[in-house]
């Protein structure tokens, strides 16, 4: 009995440590974002006075003058378009890999894996040069295309793992009933595959949402600059003040919705992140 109690205490401590470790930066950003400019340097973890001034300054001036609204729109639109295209292309490829027999299947999987390991910095220079020649520099497609490339391997692997779990016979049954392979795909497999597709979509969205390297290399203005890049260019009220408060407020705005979303769909995300990790 005493042994059991001691174990419970140890587990509680372990859990609390993990929880604090995970939460500290988020709580710290919320705290900083609520401190009025006068007390931002008070160095205390819990604000002594609260103000929403930092949030107001983010949205002041509307879409034209606010340093934050346009990047926020850019981030959302670019990440959503990337997700839709990547999931469409990856679903086609993953269906073929999971369900059909064809030469080149292993090559595609190996190639996708190689691209997952590819260092993005190695493509930044050529893309910078090519995009300027093609007029894609500082545009949405200029970011969506590289995001697509680097999120497809992840999406394909997750989807193949999910598609392999789908009962094969149903598709054959549909084909026996006269459906073409394409119909069998859209009418039977797609509804069954929806949970896996959704999981892959979350992971691709987070990938595009998170990118910084392409965002600062291939954009030059608010026309297409996303939030991570815009944060690096934030300036204070005057050249003497650090933009700590407004960066923190912006960080909270882009972080809290994603965290709620991630926590809500945590089972799916865990399944997606570990898809294929243990299957030989």
């Amino acid at each position: 009995m005493e042994h059991e109690n001691r174990q419970r205490v140890l587990w509680t401590i372990a859990i609390v440590v993990v929880l604090i470790f995970a939460l500290i930066p988020v709580l710290w950003l919320i705290s900083l974002s609520l401190k009025p400019p006068g007390s931002i340097t008070d160095k205390s973890f819990i604000p002594s006075e609260f103000s929403l001034e930092n949030y107001k300054s983010l949205f002041e001036g509307g879409i034209d003058d606010s340093p934050f609204i346009k990047p926020l729109i850019n981030s959302i639109v670019i990440a959503l378009i990337t997700t839709v295209i990547a999931i469409t292309l990856a679903s086609f490829a993953a269906y073929a890999i999971a369900r059909l027999e064809f030469p080149g299947k292993r090559l595609i999987l190996a190639g996708a894996l190689a691209i997952a390991m590819f260092p993005p910095i190695s493509t930044v220079g050529p893309l910078f040069d090519m995009w300027r020649a093609l007029g894609l520099y500082d545009t949405y497609p200029g970011l969506i295309i590289p995001y697509l490339t680097f999120s497809l391997p992840l999406a394909i692997y997750v989807l193949v793992a999910f598609f392999r779990e789908i009962p094969w016979e149903l598709e054959q049954a549909a084909q026996v009933d006269g459906a073409t392979p394409f119909q069998a795909f859209t009418k039977v497999i797609v509804p069954l595959a929806a949970p896996g597709v959704f999981t892959a979509a979350i992971l691709v969205f987070i990938f595009a949402w998170n990118d910084f390297l392409f965002a600062i290399s291939l954009t030059s203005s608010d026309a297409s600059r996303t939030v991570p890049a815009a944060l690096a260019f934030f300036t204070g009220e005057s050249s003497f003040t650090e933009p700590t408060g407004s960066i923190s407020a912006a960080a909270v705005v882009v972080t809290v919705p994603i965290i709620i979303f991630v926590l809500f769909f945590q089972r799916r995300i865990v399944a997606g992140l570990t898809a294929g990790a243990v299957k030989g």
Binding site: I121, D129, L148, I156
Partner: protein, 309 residues
């Protein structure tokens, strides 16, 4: 559906082979868009980077362009900066991956063996995964900054400590931010390996009198070797590309520059496409070398793995 469906004109054998053929055609058609999209921004640009790296191209001095052979590579490989940045990158990579492996294993064990609170732990480890790397870097930078941060007010830490004023104290903060952000991924991959181990093995070992420590070293670790190696490979390659955290925290000052930052500085800040491309190609070769060493050295079976998040 039709009342007078025509009889199948082909004998079964021919029908099967034509179905195989149409299946192949369909498969290739389904894969083509994804394959093209993946090659578009990798194979072609890396080839183009190689071409650029053989030329002198500085966008600030466009008149002086020309073919220079391997001169750019000679410049990079004989510069002290490149080797210092390689040291920095490998230092951050090895340290953060090593810490992540230990922490990730501990968290995976907690999640696996939890008597209660498994959901809480899983929820909390996903928080770092959902946060933008740049945002996390700012959060830690503000926490350690002497003018705004709470860290210097903690017990055992000097109030005057200027974390970003020195090389290794900067690295300490950079590594801790990297570890915070990516340990969840490591923990989840390790947990996935952990749940495949047959619980009866532990029962049998217990009956034979093995201690918890012995069970961990003799059962858990050996059986998890494939999962550990795959997680290590992906995290090592990912850590080698470290960019966001260093860019936000120090921009490479205090000699904390990584090779990715060096490439970015040459390509985008200085517009020196020739020299920058040589750096890019060399980084690509390093990543290739690391992957090769993993596969050859540890016998990692890559197709058991998954691409990194």
């Amino acid at each position: 559906m039709e009342a007078n469906a025509p009889a199948n004109p082909n004998p079964p054998q021919a029908a099967a082979s034509s179905r195989t053929r149409s299946e192949r055609k369909l498969a290739w058609m389904l894969c083509a868009p994804a394959v093209i999209a993946m090659l578009l921004v990798t194979a072609y640009p890396i080839g183009y980077a190689f071409v650029l790296s053989l030329q002198q191209i500085d966008l600030r001095f466009p008149d002086e362009s020309g073919f220079v052979g391997l001169d750019n590579y000679v410049s990079v490989l004989t510069s002290e900066l490149w080797w210092e940045d390689i040291f920095n990158t490998v230092f951050v990579m090895v340290t953060s991956v090593a810490i992540e492996l230990v922490l990730g294993m501990a968290i995976a064990l907690v999640m696996h063996r939890a008597i209660f609170g498994r959901g809480v732990v899983r929820t909390s480890v996903l928080i770092p995964y959902g946060i933008i790397t740049v945002v996390a870097a700012f959060a830690w930078q503000f926490a350690f900054a002497p003018d705004t941060g709470f860290v210097n007010g903690l017990p055992l830490i000097s109030d005057e400590m200027d974390w970003f004023g020195g090389r290794f104290s900067s690295f300490a903060v950079i590594i801790m931010a990297e570890v915070w952000k990516t340990t969840p991924f490591m923990a989840l991959l390790l947990l996935a390996g952990l749940v495949t181990i047959d619980g009866q093995l532990y029962e049998a070992a217990k009956v034979d009198g093995a201690t918890a420590w012995q069970r961990f070293w003799r059962i858990t670790l050996p059986l998890m070797k494939p999962a550990i190696l795959v997680a290590l490979l992906f995290r090592t390659l990912d850590a080698f590309r470290v960019f966001d955290t260093i860019f936000i925290m120090t921009r490479g000052s205090q000699d904390t520059e990584s090779v990715s930052i060096l490439g970015f500085n040459q390509l985008i800040s200085r517009l020196n496409l020739g020299l920058g491309s040589a750096v890019s190609v060399l980084i690509f070769l390093c990543v290739f070398l690391i992957a090769f060493l993993f596969v050859k050295g540890f016998g990692t079976r890559l197709d058991e793995g998954r691409p990194g998040g």
